[in-house]
Symmetry: C2
């Protein structure tokens, strides 16, 4: 039913507002916008409303492409998985590459640390990553493949989360490592001064401190060594 009030002549009737050409939309565009927001201001800056605003679109329009926010997050993670393509000649190189590239992706998209491992990854890019890994692990016994990949994934997820969490905490107290020690140091100093954690205090104070890179690689070496021992058995 046309709704032009017939009693109103054209001259009085205002033109319909200059409708902006509806922005062409698709999942990729939506996900890119969301990732941009997350890269800039963290995951909590990603809201359907903000994403829609960036795209010049009403919030509800997004629901034609995604079922809800959770799906958007899943799509974001899957999109990043497209960047993760481990390479290497033997299984050890492949697994190391898998770990390092994942970590690197998390450095470029810190919000990944919040999402990794949080939901099963079954998107096309995640599966493609899995395919690449498994294919490159041709020499490994079939029954060993899943446990090995799963273990490396688990280590990487946890290590990256810890690392990013620490980095954020540092940043929150003022960017420098100087100030970090100036704010957390005193807290730990005071706490250790109570004498309730003698062994811990000794280790923290006396042991060599490793930077994030070394810490990640040492743990990874532990794991790969252990895998090697069982794989070639």
């Amino acid at each position: 039913m046309r709704c032009i009030v017939s009693g109103m002549l054209v001259w009085e009737r205002p033109e319909p507002p200059n409708r902006p050409v509806p922005a062409p939309l698709n999942r990729e565009r939506i996900v890119r916008a969301a990732i941009q927001l997350a890269d800039a201001d963290g995951l909590e800056a990603v809201s359907l409303r903000k994403v829609a605003t960036v795209l010049g679109v009403g919030p509800m329009r997004l629901y034609n492409y995604i079922a809800g926010k959770e799906e958007l997050l899943d799509l974001m993670v899957d999109a990043v998985h497209a960047e993760i393509r481990p390479v290497g000649d033997d299984w050890r190189e492949v697994l190391r590459s898998l770990a390092e590239t994942t970590r690197q992706a998390a450095h470029e998209h810190e919000w990944l640390a919040d999402l990794l491992g949080g939901r099963p990854q079954l998107g096309p890019h995640a599966l493609a990553r899995g395919e690449a890994v498994v294919a490159a692990l041709g020499g490994v016994e079939v029954d060993d493949v899943m446990p090995v990949v799963t273990a490396v994934d688990a280590y990487v997820i946890g290590a990256v989360r810890r690392e990013i969490a620490e980095r954020r905490a540092e940043r929150a107290t003022g960017m420098d490592e100087k100030r970090w020690q100036a704010s957390l140091g005193p807290y730990l100093e005071r706490t250790f001064a109570t004498g309730r954690f003698p062994a811990l205090a000794t280790v923290v104070r006396d042991a060599a401190h490793l930077d994030a890179d070394h810490t990640f690689r040492i743990g990874l070496d532990f794991l790969l060594d252990g895998i090697e021992a069982r794989i070639s058995r």
Copy 2:
């Protein structure tokens, strides 16, 4: 300045409403209530308002005890750390116990998987856990302690996250493993039928499937084996 309107006699003036005795409050009570909510309905069921309601208190009252929601979450995690006290005779038993008890805690409090590794753990119970671990690792070279514990922690965090995520996904499709295969199975079947993931398809279809317990333990064994090789070097 007393606000009793002097023109109004007692007989007309209503009694002040029977103020409920202000509920005695402290952090422990708040944290317990929050954990109860999270155990029952997941982390997203924890809101300051609901916690306050459970305690029979106005929401803003909580801010006398915590600075914001993040702090509440930190306190929840720290409270659970009180349950984690690894035991064992040699370093390997201690680390295995650390991993298993952490995993068990995450089974009792699934929301822990969402929080683990998300922020540095510096609360008293987390430190006490650290102290217990380090103390039990007396035989290990001082410079090796941190890398080793950090690696095990990283693995556990990631493995537990993955495991809980999968469990939730199963539950979301209907409780049974039967229905899980009936819903995810077809999706993977269809996807593999495209032929885009041949190696992955082979492994998923042909390799032996491990349950969650075995998967966790195998990965942990990999890691501990690797640690053993480097520690006694």
